[in-house]
Symmetry: C2
Subunit: 326 residues, 2 copies
Amino acid sequence: MGEFDLIARYFTRPVHRAALGVGDDCALLAPTPGMQLAVSSDMLVEGRHFFADVSPERLGHKALAVNLSDLAACGASPLAFTLALALPRVDEAWLEAFARGLLALADAHGCELVGGDTTQGPLNICITVFGEVPAGQALLRSGARPGDDIYVSGTLGDARLALEALQGHVALPPEVLAAARLRLEQPTPRVALGQALRGVASSALDVSDGLLGDLGHILRASGAGALIDTALTVHLMAASGPLTSANQRIDAELLHQCTLAGGDDYELAFTAPVARRAAVAAAALASATPVTRIGRVKAEPGLRLVDAHGQPVARHYASFDHFAAR
Amino acid sequence: MGEFDLIARYFTRPVHRAALGVGDDCALLAPTPGMQLAVSSDMLVEGRHFFADVSPERLGHKALAVNLSDLAACGASPLAFTLALALPRVDEAWLEAFARGLLALADAHGCELVGGDTTQGPLNICITVFGEVPAGQALLRSGARPGDDIYVSGTLGDARLALEALQGHVALPPEVLAAARLRLEQPTPRVALGQALRGVASSALDVSDGLLGDLGHILRASGAGALIDTALTVHLMAASGPLTSANQRIDAELLHQCTLAGGDDYELAFTAPVARRAAVAAAALASATPVTRIGRVKAEPGLRLVDAHGQPVARHYASFDHFAAR
């Protein structure tokens, strides 16, 4: 099967919102008048972002999910995406499953595949996603103000826990590993929550490299510091419950590492004025997304951690850097 | 140097036309009212699209040029681009030169770098480019009509000739190789010509995989056939002149292969009604881009080649397929 057959068979679908989809030199998009176009690109590399033996269906899902997560962090609604794919060889079963996972998530968010590129090379997936947001209403990293509450959506740390287990660093009961692995391989972009937080959150981003490192981006962009209550973050790992029930305690250091600096969470971290707590709760409810308040923005620079007794936690948790050894 | 330092040092620049550039979860673009957004993605892989030892400055140029060429083919004016880059390691001299070549071409076209991704992995460059075009005026592949003239811009075949020489299949005088190699490694996207052809050309695309194969896309999309005069295409290779002067004849078969099915030309192939010949000439003049009429669109399907005497040329020239052996 050649390049054009491959595109026709797996990646060409009719478009409804775009003016022109796959098959010409460019796709054509017509953003709604008054809307800004939000754009983000993410590249996934074998061995760095996923294992060679990952389920292609889950990989297709994840490749788009990490991009939709960026739209969510801006409060944008998904519109379309392009897919550039380097493949070592044409493996039809792999492509069929990859396309199935990719397009199922795309359909769930009304996000149309409008173009891209396929080529021969080491497996590499590059997606660029387009969303739209009312002009001036995008959630940015720079809006956090001292006194604002700090929140995180959903759960944290399960993806990292799965990675540690898959690398043989920790043993997990099979059903706990399966659930954690699903969080690693098939993350849920918080698109509805992001949109519901427009006009409510003062800043937002998506947690992809670890909570503390990513929060640091908000704090630097906003010129502020923060106090985080680790007695709250520690409960954000979904696996904690089943592990406790199974009487299998997880090392406290590993628990902090996973929840505070795990990576691959694709949850939203955001800030909002204390006066908007009811609005945050309403946004969480409207988007059916759990939200946990974990700390407070401070005027003093720096990110300080405290324990259940308000005592400082003097640990450094490194966030993920794609050019550092893991 | 870590991921964020790398982005800050080489790829973060102030934006003027985009509402938000590098550094948040998404870039924000505000297309001009009444314009459609044209989008294209191209991925360049080491060993497939360029040699490992290519000049990084030329590679930076080419990575954006092949994307700008897609905008040109639609008649769109460049607006912005995202860059996703997988690098085996952080090599500052390489990055500095790559960014220099990339951003010089970006500046020449007023095309702003607004976002992207960097990661560790086998060298892979994925650019997504955004342009804008008045709604309904994009040049498409589907508009060719029987009787239309067929044109190609600039020169054809020099990139392929350079590739053949670099692979040791043909010997070239050093100055001819240097010139041809420049066409391979630093192609010129025909952005101004594409815009000048809006309202003039009936169809257009950029020649990246070889003239005949790419023309085939126009013919299939337009439901038409074509007659091409190889006595005209054969003169489109810039190297022909110097080679003839140097009394070095190039094999006729190789000359046809390079000009008709060479690949990596990044010229525009387009059609226009006979009645618009003066307008085509004016567009060529306004954009300072040579344009050559090479044939005619026919109602009968199929792409037929004729020689200087109007006799059929019964040769098959395979176009480039990224999943076929080269």
